[in-house]
């Protein structure tokens, strides 16, 4: 029998994009472009490079994600450690050319099934939590 705490889960999001792989690769690996769709960063496409992603959600509350590049295969895959809210995960982008354009897939793996771990030091995540909580409370009433 496996221990539930040892199980991990992953999130996969996929999308068909009408632009070539090279262009998507630039958006995934150039800091000023990453900032436009993900977060502020000090990214470098170099294996072993450690960087931070930052987002200011409110005047005094910021989100910081600690990252480390695991793998860089230009125009194909990019993988980095993603550590936030006390949870360590791995984010992997996979780019595959298709007849119509490009298939982009992101997988974030390594969530512990015991989600309590997600809340260690999770003060920064409270805006999301509050939105989720409000939805739950609306359903309950």
């Amino acid at each position: 029998m496996t221990h539930p705490a040892a199980e991990t889960r992953s999130v996969i999001v996929e999308r068909e994009i009408a632009y070539p792989a090279e262009k998507i690769w630039r958006a995934l690996t150039q800091p000023h472009l990453i900032e436009e769709w993900l977060m502020k960063n000090d990214f470098k496409p170099v294996e072993g490079h450690k960087f931070k992603l930052r987002r200011d959600t409110q005047a005094d509350i910021g989100v910081i994600v600690d990252c480390e590049i695991l793998s860089v295969k230009p125009n194909r895959t990019l993988s980095y450690k993603w550590s936030a809210y006390g949870v360590e995960t791995i984010v992997t982008f996979t780019i595959t050319p298709t007849t119509a354009g490009t298939h982009l897939r992101v997988e974030q793996s390594g969530f512990q099934s015991d989600q309590r771990r997600a809340y260690n030091g999770a003060r920064a995540s409270w805006p999301q939590f509050l939105a989720a909580l409000e939805k739950v409370l609306a359903r309950v009433n």
Partner: protein
């Protein structure tokens, strides 16, 4: 719904208690006095609500001299949130912004 979830919902259904809990989430640890200053109710009422939040595991107290400091315990909320579905939503909205960016990169 489990007894624990039931207790959690009942605890947070009260707007004064929810307000106290939100402030502790936003601003970090606070004394009863500091919480009372903005709560719009008396200190005994604040203390009573903090006691109920503590019973539900939503706050923790720490004594220092004559003061009692309270802090939010977000771990108590974990039954309410599905972390994986939150992150799926996060990446969907990031991909929306990525597509907007790709359009603009076209010149």
């Amino acid at each position: 719904m489990t007894d624990a979830q039931d207790a959690l919902f009942r605890t947070l259904a009260d707007p004064t208690r929810r307000g106290l809990f939100e402030r502790l989430c936003r601003e970090g640890e606070k004394t009863v006095g500091a919480l009372t200053a903005q709560a719009g109710v008396s200190q005994p009422v604040v203390s009573k609500h903090l006691g109920i939040l503590k019973q539900a595991g939503l706050v923790r107290d720490r004594h220092e001299g004559r003061q009692t400091h309270y802090s939010a315990q977000l771990g108590a909320l974990s039954p309410l949130i599905d972390w994986t579905s939150q992150m799926a939503g996060f990446w969907q909205s990031r991909f929306d912004d990525l597509e907007d960016l790709l359009k603009r990169m076209d010149q």
